[in-house]
Symmetry: C2
Subunit: 313 residues, 2 copies
């Protein structure tokens, strides 16, 4: 039994045939232009799925799961709001059904990643898992008692918008001091910019010029590895915020596992060491002893695998 997963990013569509074990049989990455009408975009998505299916000789599509960034009403199959796609109240499930003869499930992309992490990384020895996607923003998904936890309106798991510093930086969600404003790539970049402008980050400034690149977590990582105190501190502080948020999660939800993924998690020990140290300093002893924190090795596939496997739940 195989299922189809689709991860709908802001510029790409990732499509994958997935075994029930979570193993990917075939996958493809298709660029999508979302700056068209919803109808055009949906028709395009459907046609790319059909082409993928026929190209790989797959016969009969029964279940399709799709992950999308934003507020998703998975029960009704509606995209309530997706800033990435510019969609508001789009009945995606119904629209796709016009093109595809399959049972379609749609879900928030971080929820998909959490389900993917649970199925690929943890199912055997884990009941309660939290997944944090550390990208431009910070997303999250929660699996409790072996089931994806969606909350009362399907909005649960917005861990990026856990307050860690209630008078802190203004977040993309308008609140103050959310985890995302400190640990999301945009937050890191903002901190780095402030450092460059105030002259405290000369190595970072040099790297930025030399590479002709955009300011990114990867560049801040390089500056830190070149021993620039400012850039090292950026990671140290981001790690401390991540650790404080994980401690809150451990104290409140007492999970077996926390799985980290996404671009920012690639900074490795630069962010992990302060995060794990802070987690241990802050959380209660018994639950912190139980929780295992890992960076997922499946990373970029968690979302598409989770979407596929959720379609069968």
């Amino acid at each position: 039994m195989t299922v189809l997963g689709v991860d709908c990013g802001g510029t790409n569509l990732k499509i994958a045939w997935v075994k029930e074990s979570g193993e990917i049989i075939r996958s493809a990455l298709e660029p999508i232009n979302f700056k068209r009408s919803v109808g055009q975009v949906v028709a395009d998505i459907a046609s790319r799925i059909k082409i993928f299916l026929s190209r790989h000789g797959a016969s009969g599509l029964r279940n399709l799961g799709m992950g999308i960034a934003g507020e998703i009403d998975s029960a009704q199959g509606i995209v309530r709001f997706s800033p990435n796609l510019g969609w508001k109240n789009v009945p995606l499930k119904k629209l796709l059904a016009r093109h595809l003869d399959a049972k379609v499930a749609i879900e928030n992309d971080a929820n998909c990643a959490a389900w993917g992490a649970y199925c690929l990384d943890a199912k055997k020895d884990c009941e309660n898992l939290i997944c944090l996607t550390l990208g431009t923003g910070v997303g999250g998904g929660i699996v409790l008692g072996g089931k994806l936890y969606r909350g009362s309106t399907g909005s649960a798991g917005e861990i990026g918008h856990l307050t860690v510093d209630h008078r802190g930086r203004r977040c993309s969600c308008e609140s103050l001091g959310c985890l995302e404003s400190q640990v999301g790539a945009w937050g890191l970049i903002q901190t780095a910019k402030e450092g460059i402008e105030s002259g405290r980050a000369p190595i970072l400034k040099r790297l930025l010029k030399a590479k002709g690149a955009l300011l990114s977590p990867r560049l801040i990582e390089q500056a830190a590895k070149n021993n620039e105190p400012f850039s090292k501190k950026v990671w140290e502080e981001a790690g401390e915020c991540l650790g404080a948020a994980m401690a809150s999660l451990v104290n409140v939800l007492n999970p077996d596992r926390i799985v980290l993924c996404g671009g920012v998690s690639k900074a490795g020990n630069l962010i992990l060491n302060p995060a794990l140290r802070t987690l241990k300093e802050r959380a209660f002893k018994v639950p912190v002893k139980r929780v295992k924190v890992t960076v997922s090795k499946y990373d970029e596939n968690l979302g598409v695998v989770g979407a596929a496997l959720l379609s069968r739940e």
Copy 2:
């Protein structure tokens, strides 16, 4: 069918016969001296329960639920650690079974309060509920999908130790800037003391002298109602911290209900207005529209009723 609930405070034992509806038939408050050996205390508890039963002509005890502040392993029936009682790894369930011919369940007291709030306040129209007990410390309990959520080691629900200000005041748990350090009675009193010492709280100082009382949330409430700017600010800031924590809970757990109880919640609008305003400012729109925040009218009975009803789960 009736069940017995026992709420084991630091100085009192509250015992209640409870109907399955949550209604209390009879109750008693018994002082207990915990400064004796565990064996002596347990024998005393058991004998007081027996006296209560015989006094009220109750025949045949089948289920007894007991709530205790601290880390409880409810599956094994062990009090892992209770600072209030000075107990560590006490196999309470086993010890009580030597004295009482009944099925005994023990549970963290805030979890009992959450279950009490769910059964008394919310069962009809609610799947997911969070209860915050705002007392000397801040406790919490979580009901998800109509079941008490205990987490992987039974430690879930420690909402008082959610970080709201990661560089804030040192908490009783050794972490920094926990909700409890700002909103727990001990945190409020510490803030008030600082105000008195620095001369910013003259009305509070006068009330304290006039009443010959100890500094308490009640007294800070009176000073605020006497229009002292400092004391008003104490409540304003406590409310903002409470609101930030509730926003985190709404974003992460997306509950139908948040129920507040405990002495500090008695300050009413002084703390509720800034809390609700902050919650609304900070949380995501769809889940914040769903959640209903209330102060429980059953307050002091939530724990004992919850303990009783949990014994039947």
